[in-house]
Each structure stands twice: as structure tokens, then as C-alpha cells.
């Protein structure tokens, strides 16, 4: 997946709280407005629930919880549906931005001081006009072992 993220030029950008993230466009199936989810009692805290996407079961991930970014009250939520490891996940985010090209040479290493959780999920950062864009590796983001119970 790392290689993929580096060789793929385009990422779908989305905002969680005040931070913009990018996920390789190849991992994204579609972007939809936020759907009602059915709660899964006892599941990990980042699991917002399950949603029904045209008959397919999709695990919704609360990106605020996952990236440990406090949630603001009134956000218009969007779902970025990604395909990873044979399953569909919906990343529940605040806003979806453009698909932007990220040529490999613009990709910068993660700062060493970066929070451990982020360091484990992100593959690199890109300087944009309106701040930094953190690139996310979908497989690492959705790895069960790194999520809080």
C-alpha cells in the first residue's frame, strides 16, 4: 500500500476537524452524503456503526475518533467509501475536497515529532496552499490492532 500511495498521483482530500487528509483515489469507491448507521454495541470506539450501501454492508469509521480529533457539533458529514482487504468502509468526515494530484517529488517525510498514532497511519505530508495535507494509508487506518477497543 505504501508503494501504491507513492506511485499514485491522485488523492481524494477530506477534512476532519481542522486537518485535511488525502487517501489514494484508487482506494476510494465513491463519496456519498452521510448515511444513517446501525450501532454495533461493544465494537471498537472508532466504529460508528454499519450502513447499508445498496445492499452491501459497510463499516462506518468515525474519523474524529480514529484520528483523535475532537468533533465539533454542527458539521455536515460526508462518507468516503473505501475498499480495503475485500471489505467496504465508510470514513465519516466533515467535508470532502477536490481530487488533487500529488507527484511523488512533492511528498515529504513525516515530521519525526508527529504523534505516534498519526505516524502509524500516515505515509507522508504535502504542502498545499491552505496548509498541510496528510496522506493516509487505508490499510493502516483500518488495521484492527491499531484501533482503540
Amino acid at each position: 500500500m505504501i508503494a501504491l500511495a507513492e506511485s499514485t498521483d491522485e488523492v481524494v482530500t477530506f477534512r476532519v476537524g481542522g486537518q485535511w487528509f488525502g487517501v489514494p483515489v484508487i482506494a476510494v469507491q465513491e463519496v456519498i452524503s452521510h448515511q444513517a448507521t446501525a450501532p454495533v454495541p461493544l465494537a471498537r470506539s472508532c466504529v460508528a456503526g454499519l450502513l447499508n450501501l445498496r445492499g452491501q454492508i459497510v463499516t462506518a469509521i468515525d474519523m474524529h475518533d480514529r484520528m483523535e480529533i475532537p468533533a465539533a457539533a454542527s458539521e455536515s458529514l460526508m462518507d468516503v467509501v473505501v475498499f480495503d482487504g475485500g471489505e467496504l468502509f465508510a470514513l465519516v468526515v466533515d467535508e470532502v475536497g477536490d481530487v488533487v494530484a500529488v507527484p511523488p517529488h512533492t511528498l515529504e517525510r513525516l515530521p519525526a515529532s508527529l504523534d505516534c498514532l498519526w505516524a502509524r497511519i500516515c505515509t507522508g505530508v504535502v504542502r498545499m496552499d491552505n496548509g498541510l495535507l496528510a496522506l493516509i494509508d487505508a490499510a493502516r487506518l483500518l488495521d484492527e490492532s491499531s484501533t482503540r477497543p
Partner: protein, 700 residues
Amino acid sequence: MDDLLKDFLAESAENIAQLDHDLVELERDPSNASLLNSIFRAIHTIKGTCGFLGLARLEHVSHTAESVLDQLRSGVLAGEPEVISDILRAVDLIKVILAELESHRVEPVGDDSLLIALLEQWLMPIGEQRAATTEFAVRSAIAGESAASLSPSHADQPPQIHSSLRVNIALLDSLMNLAGELVLNRNQLLEMASKDEDSALATPVQQLNRITAELQSAIMKTRMQPVGSAWGKLPRIVRDIARDTGKKIELDMKGASTEMDRQLVQALQDPLTHMVRNSADHGIESVAVRRSQGKPVTGKIVLNAYHEGGHVIVEIRDDGKGIDVAEVRRTAIERGIVSREHADTMSDCQALRLIFEPGFSTATEVTHISGRGVGMDVVRSNIERVGGAVDIASAPGAGCTVRIRLPLTLAIISSLIVRANGEIFAFPQASVLELIRLAPDAMSTFDTLQNVRLFRLRDDLVPVVDLADELRLAGCAADEIRTLVVCQAGSARFGIIVDEVVDSQEIVVKPIGRLTRSVRCYAGCTILGDGRVVMIIDPAALAIRSGTETAGLAQVATEKPVTPAAKQDSLLLFGIGDDAVQAVPLSLVARLEEIPAERIESTGGSMVVQYRGSLLPVVAAGPAVTFTSGRTNSVIVFNEGSSSFGIAVNDIRDIVDEVLNLQLIAVRPGVLGTAIIGGAATEVLDVSYYMNRARDGMLS
């Protein structure tokens, strides 16, 4: 037999088509080894199956062709056009015979000696090959022959077009999913149309309704397989056992064409083989014994499959000696499966079911045929895994009957839709035994034993949990009439309290994702008619989670006096988060390690640490153990035989010497019980539980 032949013909047709192509290719490129291998394999497959089906003529021809190919493969022969033409001749003959087989179901009579002779020439040592003076004569004779005897006798008949296709299972699965989506859409439309009876939509929606239902059932049928395909091997197995043991056994198979979902047919295969083996090996008596008892000398095993009320029933009946219930009771007590008192109070029927318990095997001696440690408990768990049930009945001296009940399909199950604290859940109906209405004041009348609520169900005490509590659902239930769902979980019964049963309906089971699978109380999820996603509760898993399953054992355990350990043990105390401390006897511990949280890696849902050049499976000692990057976790390493595993804890607190006296028997897994250690009540860790968890993690 007919099915086998059909399969063989379908398979061979594919092989032959490929063969023609490959052989021509080979003529152009005689040194292509992979091509040769593929040709060899194709002929070899045909030969192998022919022998099995008793098609002598086909077998002889393919065998000879195979021998020639083998010579080519090993380089003894060069791939000259003459050799290839002769092999092509053999392939042609195979085709003719196959065509005859297809239309007449029997191998045609004919004399292939000329072709065989022609092929065999290539098998002679190099010098003699060309010396064969008869070669030309043989060739010309074959040319004449082939016109006469090799051509199909019904040349004017159009070639049969195959009436079946091989389809990828994934395609069938996706069709099934699409049909599921269609059903949801139809349900929405039906709801809209029902609001306005005069709507122009009413008629087309009704049509859509009907067509959707038909489509769904047709797609379901594409996944159906006759149950007989799971028992094709059985006649051979029975025959071999009969020969080895000198018994006379007749196997009678009825209802082989009964259809069910292919996954279920697969799930049935091993248990069925096991049980038929049991019947033949242990059930049916020897000829002498049968004669002395006035029974017919030939023992009979009857397999019978049929549909019954939306289920498939498969029965295995034998007229052997039956099962000795007293022996079953004795063994079960010996192996510690039940207490003597409990065994005595059981009816014969209940006692007989003890053979399905893990660790039970009635065979007193291990023969090479049965008794390899996988007993009826494996049979039961295999059947239960696919939502089925198995029961056994036996009459001493007259034989024994095992009855397996399976759902028609795995994908669709009957379910009860229940409500708990406003949330909706589904229960598989197969595991629900009964529903009991609880009066508003019933909650206070439950007996409790070590924090487990018990419900007095007729003569039994059934442990009870509240679904809302177990799932930690927010809000509290109104104190009103509630419902107790009594479930079967493994061999025990237990009750789950819900607010009410809303509905009962057929649901399509969908798997849940990897982030929710670890919760282990759901059997999957489903989408209801209104598009809502609902979790399906797995009662057996819930019982284990809540600890009510071990509560049953705890009851047995309290009957035995707990022998106080006279000597002091060194105990290791450690923190497992949330200020909780547990203890483990130091004598069981191999080593203590401090491992940075980052080095504890996760593979396939279980944790491992790279440790001394190999992978050490690690299990957290409870949900509150935290793994914070940049900090270390203490890992207690245990040895088990040649393998090791670790239990991750938050920190090591102390080592104390104390008389270990378990005061309370555990009511949840992972804990042996509670003991007073250093003046405080401390839970004692159950090492064997974590060992199994670690091992399961490595296997899964």
C-alpha cells in the same frame, strides 16, 4: 453413478477440446515441455477416472496413449509428426467413445487392438520401432477400421449440446447479492404503493413483487446441489471396512437427489463420513455375533435424506448393536464430563447425547478405521456451525439412528426480531428453544448464584442475562412486561431477557467486517425490509462472553469441597488496567519481559511479538490492558511443551508468598476464581484459557 458419469463427461469434454489444440501446437513445437505435461495430465485424468468408472475400453486406449506420451516426456521419443498423429488417432477414438457414452450411458463395444498395436510400437526400443514390418498394414487397416467401427453408430444424430454450464461460484454469489438488493428495493416500492391504492403503480409493483420472489428462488436454486454428492465416497468406505473386519454390510442410500445449498453439502461431507464409519466399524456386529443373535448376517446401514418443513433431514440408521447407555454414563463420569449425581438423574435420551460432548469417545480400542480422537463432538460442532442440529437415538441390540437437521440454505435463516432498549436485534430461530413472558415484578424473583441470575424453568435452573446489560446499551428498560428468550448454547440452555419480540422473518445473513468481528457476539448482520441494518446475535457466543456457560460448571464445582492448598505458593501480582490486579502462581511463569508497545504487532486479528528469532503469540489479560506507543508493556511468558505464549499486562506489581485458596469459583472466562492475597480479594488468572486463546489466534 449417473452423476459421476455426467461429471466425467463434462470434465473430459473440456480436456479433449484442450488436447486437440495442444497436440497440434506440440507438432509445431515438439520440445515444449509444459505443453507435453499438460497433454499428459489431460490423458492421465481421463485414464484415472475411467478406471474408477469401470470403462475398460477407454481406460486401455488412454493408458497406452499415456505410455507413449510418457516416452515423449522423458525424451526417449522425439515428437515426430508420426507419433503425434498416432496420439491424435487415440484422442479421436476417445472422443468417439465419449460421444457414445453420452448418448447411451454405456461404453460401446469395439475392438481397439489395431490402434493399441500401433501405439505400442512406439514403446518398443528405438531399433525395433521402424523394423516392425506390419506397420504399414496396421496403418491401412486402421484407416479402414476407423471408417467402419470408430464412427458413431448414429452419425445422423446431431451432436448433443451440453445442457449444463460450469459457472464460477463468485458469480452465483454476486447474483444472490443482487437479488437481495432487488428485494430491498421492491420492499420500498411496495410500501410506497400501499399508501395509495389507486396508484397507477399498484399493478406494476405487484408484478415486480411476484417476479422478484421467483427470481430470488431461482437464483437460490442455482446454488443447490444434490446431497448425494456428499456421499459418493461412502460405498467404497463401507466396502473397505467390511473387507477389513470380515463383516457383511449393505449400504442403502435413499434420497440422494435431495437438494440443498452447496456450502451445506460440503459441511455435511466429513461428519457423514465419520458417522457412517462409526456405524460400520462399531455399530454393525461380526457375522458370527449376528448369526447367534438371530439377525440377518448382513448388517444394514441406511442413509436417508429428505425435506421436512423447510429443512433437510439426513438420517444414518444401522441395525447393529446400538449404543450401551450405561457405558456412555460410565465413560462420561470417568472423563469428568458430568458428575455422577447428574448422570444418574439424566434420562437415557439425555445420557446418550453425552457422546456429543468434547473429550468423549466410546470406542474402547483405537482401530485404524475410527477412533482417531475426532469424535462425535466434532460432528456436532461442524453441523452446528452451519446452523444445523444433530440428535441420536439407540435401541440396544436393534441399532442406532443419527438424525441431522440442516437449513436449506446458509444465506437465508428464520429469525426472531427482538427489541432491547429501543435497539433492534435478530436471533437465529434455530437456537431459540422457547419464549417466556416475564411479569413486571419477575425481575426481582430471580435466584442469584455468584452474581449470575438464574431462572426457574420448570425443574431446571437456567442462567439468565439481560441483552441490554450484556451489550451495554444506553438507557434503561422500562419496568414492564419483558420476554425471556431461552436459547440452546452448546449443550447448555440459557436465557436472554429482551423487551419484546417484534417479528419473526426470513433474513439474509451478511458477514460483518473485520473491525466488528472481534466483538464475538454477533453471527453476522442483515438488512431488514426498510433498509435498516440489524445485528444478528449469536447466543452461544453471548453465553461464553457473559460467563453463564462457565456458571453451569461452577455449580458442579461447588459441589466438590475445595481442598485448601496447605503449602504457600509464590504468586505474581500484575495490573490489568482500571486499577484491577490479578495473580498467577509464579511456578507457571517461564519469564517476564518488558516489550515496547510498538513491537507488539497484530497479524490477522491476533497479536504477536518477534521474540528470540520466532513469533510469540500474545494475548491481552483483559480488555482494559492498554498499549500506548512509546511505553512498554509487561509480557508474562508461559511455556507449553515446546511452544510459548505471552500474556500482556499493564505492569508487574509484586511477588508475594501466600496460601492460594480459591474462595469463589469463577463466573467469567480467563479467571480461575478469587482468592485473598495480601489481605485483598484478588482474581487468579486461568492460564489454560489464555493458552487456548493464543493458540486459536495463531491458527486463525
